[in-house]
């Protein structure tokens, strides 16, 4: 009986969220295309630099981040899930995997992947007959 009450209380206080179990979650993203590069923008609040990994794996871009929130005291409200973000993107041959840059600002990760030279859009000169 006491156990039942305890677990009810724990649920009420949201203590479940405070355990080490993380929820795997795909971050929300934007994919933007500029003239010379693609941008993958991923929303990963609560992920600090040392909890973040951006890598190329078998032709895929992998972004991964683990939220770390060190708390002390009694939990009165726990709505923020402790997430382990993970998302993979297949990279086509039009991208240059050797020219990738990443930065993280205010919980948003920005990854820029350069287009390979031959895949850049280029305009074709038109020669007009000078009559």
């Amino acid at each position: 009986m006491r156990n039942a009450i305890d677990s009810k209380l724990q649920e009420d206080r949201g203590l479940r969220a405070m355990t080490e179990r993380h929820t795997y979650s795909a971050p929300r993203v934007e994919i933007r295309e500029a003239e010379d590069r693609f941008w993958v923008v991923a929303e990963m609040p609560g992920v600090a630099r040392d909890g973040l990994s951006v890598r190329i794996e078998n032709g895929h871009l992998v972004v991964e981040g683990r939220m770390v929130m060190n708390e002390t005291g009694q939990v009165l409200l726990a709505e923020i899930p402790r997430r382990h973000y993970y998302r993979r993107f297949r990279l086509g041959p039009a991208l240059d995997v050797n020219r990738i840059e990443a930065r993280c600002e205010n919980g948003i990760l920005y990854v820029a992947i350069a287009k390979s030279e031959q895949s850049k859009a280029r305009s074709i000169d038109i020669t007009f007959n000078q009559n």
Partner: protein
């Protein structure tokens, strides 16, 4: 640790609208960011998930014992950018908390890091938990 009454309450969605006085219809539609609240002996900590904000777009106000956190996220996309996928939303968010007299209102501090806003609300001396010595 047991508290007699929570000194800090989140106002629910309906109260949110009342507290705001509904100056416009959109305000009532503002999203509520996910929030954690912790209580320690000498302070409460309120943490809100608000990625992608900057100094100009994040506001915390305290008025008549109501602590309001507001943000407005714009999604400025430069010219010449093609959007292939857009899952990240933009727009306003708002969350309000009612403070009681047990909070030292002049010593509230806030910081923003990694997309999380952390507000520390120190308890007034009389609201702190204190251990009573038992004489044997």
């Amino acid at each position: 640790m047991n508290t007699l009454a929570p000194l800090l309450r989140t106002l629910d969605y309906g109260m949110n609208r009342l507290a705001d006085g509904l100056p416009d219809a959109r305000r009532g539609m503002a999203r509520r960011p996910a929030t954690d609240i912790y209580e320690e002996r000498d302070a409460f900590t309120v943490r809100l998930e608000a990625p992608g904000m900057d100094r100009e777009t994040l506001k915390i106000t305290l008025e008549n014992g109501i602590l309001s956190v507001r943000g407005d996220r714009t999604n400025n996309i430069a010219d010449g950018i093609r959007m292939h996928r857009q899952e990240i939303g933009a727009g306003e968010f708002c969350r309000t908390f009612k403070l009681t007299s047990g909070i030292e209102k002049d010593r509230i501090e806030a910081s923003y890091k990694d997309g999380l806003l952390t507000i520390r609300l120190p308890k007034a001396e009389e609201a702190r938990t204190r251990e009573i010595e038992i004489k044997f």
